[in-house]
């Protein structure tokens, strides 16, 4: 009884606040719970992996402290050195060439051509294909014994050679080719959106000044696009750093160990060699590489926003 007499006035007093809270509750649940869970997921497992990288863990995680031993032993392997050199080559080739091809496609499609939607879908479609499928298909196309080289040889040009897939020095570029095929549509879509958002007045003004199409692009349109160029490059670069399935399906890290990439080395250490500690150390180094890209980008974005706000 006393509960109800006490409760009634306070309930009426609090009801607007409670009601408002109840009304917002679904929003909070929908936004904050998944956000906290996924943030926790990332933070907890990153911290755990970092911890394991300092322990003598092999087949299963164990406690203990070995300092930087896992790091030095990973850094000492040929696999890791080759993987890192490859990452530089692949990262540079993949990002720059994909962005260039994407930009070219975007400019060509921007010419108000017929069938634009069809073409755009075709170019964007590879993005919907998994990397394993891309890798497998390209491994057939690029195989000198059954793919492009054999086709051209059989057509009569018998001295034609295109055997990068089995050439130690060139194999990494086959991964770049397959990567470009997969991702240039994505770059194209972003660039196209940028091209379409260039102010019409600007273009009109340039036309009145008598700029031809080439000058129009190089001097007027592209300079306004460069924030998008940076965004595309950053996104592509982090694609490049975590590339795993493409290599796995295309070259298997070979010929020999010529096309190893860091993600493959990590998987190899953790699950094939049974060295969870060393694998974690390699994973932490890969995370640091990613941060090396993302932190400067974040700082740059922050700086640009500050400058825009002050202007």
């Amino acid at each position: 009884m006393s509960v109800s007499t006490l409760g009634t006035p306070s309930a009426t007093r609090l009801s607007p606040a409670i009601l408002a809270g109840l009304k917002r509750l679904p929003e909070w649940l929908v936004i904050w719970v998944p956000l906290l869970l996924s943030a926790g997921h990332v933070v907890v497992f990153t911290a755990w992996t970092t911890w394991i990288s300092f322990t003598p863990s092999t087949l299963v995680p164990v406690d203990g402290w070995v300092g930087l031993r896992n790091y030095t032993s990973v850094l000492g392997t040929r696999n890791w050195k080759i993987a890192f050199d490859n990452l530089l080559l692949f990262g540079f080739g993949f990002v720059v060439l994909t962005a260039l091809v994407g930009l070219l496609l975007a400019i060509l499609i921007d010419q108000r051509i017929r069938g634009e939607n069809v073409l755009r879908s075709i170019f964007l479609y590879p993005m919907a294909v998994s990397f394993v499928v891309t890798g497998t298909v390209w491994s057939w196309l690029l195989n000198p014994g059954m793919g492009v080289q054999k086709l051209v040889n059989d057509m009569g040009w018998t001295s034609f050679r295109f055997d990068w897939l089995v050439d130690r020095d060139m194999a990494i570029w086959t991964i770049v080719i397959a990567g470009i095929w997969q991702s240039s549509g994505f770059a194209m879509a972003l660039f196209l959106a940028g091209l379409r958002s260039v102010e019409a007045d600007l273009i009109k003004a340039a036309q009145i000044d008598g700029a031809g199409p080439f000058r129009m692009y190089t001097r007027v349109i592209l300079p306004t696009l460069w924030p998008i160029v940076v965004a595309v490059m950053v996104i592509l670069l982090q694609f490049a750093i975590r590339t795993f399935d493409l290599v796995r399906a295309l070259t298997g890290g070979g010929p020999g160990i010529a096309t190893q990439l860091p993600a493959l080395v990590i998987y190899d250490f953790m699950f094939q060699r049974g060295h969870l500690g060393r694998g974690s150390a390699a994973a932490v180094m890969m995370l640091l590489t990613l941060l090396g890209v993302l932190l400067p980008y974040g700082a740059w974005k922050y700086y640009m926003r500050r400058r825009a706000a002050n202007a």
Binding site: T58, L59, V60, P61, S73, G76, T77, R78, N79, S139, N143, P144, G145, D163, L165, V166, R168, T251, G252, G253, G254, P255, G256, I257, A258, D268, F271, Q272, R273, G274, H275
Partner: protein, 428 residues
């Protein structure tokens, strides 16, 4: 009417239960049950383990096999997760030195009494037995054996090269390779592009040149042996093989090239005994190819051994313990080993199984005979390429060097010897 029928049926069932109950109770207190994981889900491997499960059920057991198809690593990830959760399977597929490594992270069953009762140790190759006795106690049991240095020769390639003698030493092998090359066979050696493939070629070279050096360098990682003259000779022989291989293999399996091999466009293949099953499954005939032991320079048979095995994890449940005992008995049983090997094309672990009957191929008979002879002269060694000689981490570090050497002609045998020794040092 129907009520009476039902009641009479119940009575009959009750009577049956009363009659059978005491017998069952005395025979076995619990129904044996086995939880098992392996990667064998399809093909002859899947068929063989399913047949084994049937036998288990025939003996009154409950067979609960969960295959984890795909790479061995996937299966090991599941095993790792189950061990960490404190719920390991009663038995799981595991092989070679990994048995000792994994038995350190979870308790295994001591099978000594069961093995002794079956008198099993006498009929198993000693090096193989050692792998399954971490800490001197049987914790795992081998299931089947394959020889990795089996030499397959293409009948048509031999005809094209007008060769009638099978090579028994590396010198004869090289002479035949030259002969084939001269006869216009583009690739005297048939190969795949996988890491295991390259590793397998090297181990066949080294063990064929000197099984003693193989044992010291590869199995015992002796520093002096790793830099010994036999290692250099093995790398030089490996270079010869590499030069005769089709370079356009990327990461393909050797199986892709079998049609060319049978057609005589490739001549010789050093593979595991399983290649026979693959050839037959691909529709080729036994007289398309010849199976011979791998080259050996000291005139005595060398057998590079690869074996699949089951490890038994400690469980408290009486029904699982009974299941483990039953499974161990089955795996050691010559009749079961015969059934299993006839399905997969391997040879039995027991050296006392008679292979003269129907259901065995000449290749299997020859491999089993060679195993017995090689045990007698102590020339059975454990395969590096198939994770029998070293733990996975060491194996992978060594194969890195081997596969790079095969793919890169500019590395000299001397450099390869140094690199291999360094890789071993780095992975210790």
């Amino acid at each position: 009417m129907s009520r009476i029928t039902r009641r009479s049926m119940l009575a009959a069932a009750g009577a049956a239960a009363v009659v059978s109950a005491p017998r069952r109770a005395s025979a076995q207190a619990v129904k044996p049950r086995l939880t098992a994981i392996s990667q064998w889900s399809a093909g002859s491997d899947g068929a063989a383990i399913t047949a084994l499960g049937k036998k288990f059920e025939e003996r009154g057991g409950v067979w609960q096999h969960s295959p984890v198809p795909g790479f061995t690593t996937e299966m090991m990830n599941k095993l790792r997760a189950q061990i960490m959760a404190g719920d390991p399977p009663a038995c799981s597929q595991l092989k070679g030195p990994e048995i000792a490594a994994w038995s350190k992270i979870a308790a295994t069953v001591n099978l000594d009494a069961t093995v002794a009762a079956a008198g099993y140790e006498k009929v198993v190759a000693p090096d193989l037995a050692r792998l399954h006795k971490p800490g001197g106690k049987w914790a795992a049991l081998p299931l089947q054996i394959y020889r990795t240095n089996t030499l397959f020769l293409s009948k048509r390639a031999l005809d094209r090269a007008k060769a009638d003698k099978l090579p028994t030493t590396w010198a004869e092998f090289n002479a035949l390779g030259d002969k084939m090359k001269a006869a216009g066979i583009a690739y005297p050696v048939c190969n795949g592009g996988t890491r295991a493939d390259d590793g397998q070629k090297f181990e066949a070279c080294l063990a064929g040149i000197s099984p003693t050096a193989y044992r010291a360098a590869i199995m015992n990682l002796d520093e002096k042996a790793l830099k010994g003259p036999e290692m250099k000779a093995a790398f030089a022989q490996l270079r010869k093989l590499a030069d005769w291989m089709d370079p356009n293999t990327a990461a393909q399996s050797y199986a892709v090239h079998l049609p060319k091999f049978v057609a005589g466009d490739m001549g010789m293949m050093i593979q595991g005994g399983w290649a026979q099953g693959v050839l037959i499954n691909a529709g080729f005939k036994l007289d398309d190819f010849i199976i011979a032991p791998g080259p050996t320079d000291n005139g005595k048979p060398v057998f590079i051994l690869n074996a699949d095995a089951f490890i038994f994890w400690q469980r408290k449940e009486p029904d699982l313990q009974a299941g483990q005992k039953l499974m161990a008995e089955l795996v050691m049983d010559p009749a079961i080993q015969t059934m299993y090997s006839q399905i997969t094309g391997s040879i039995p672990v027991r050296t006392d199984v008679d292979l003269s009957g129907a259901g065995w191929s000449d290749g299997q008979r020859e491999a089993a005979r060679t195993l017995k002879e090689a045990v007698a002269v102590n020339q059975v060694v454990l395969s590096l390429a198939h994770n029998m000689a070293q733990e996975n981490g060491m194996t992978a570090a060594m194969i890195d060097v081997l596969t790079e050497y095969v793919k890169n002609r500019s590395i000299t045998p001397d450099q390869a010897v140094t690199r291999l020794a360094e890789a071993v040092e780095g992975a210790r």
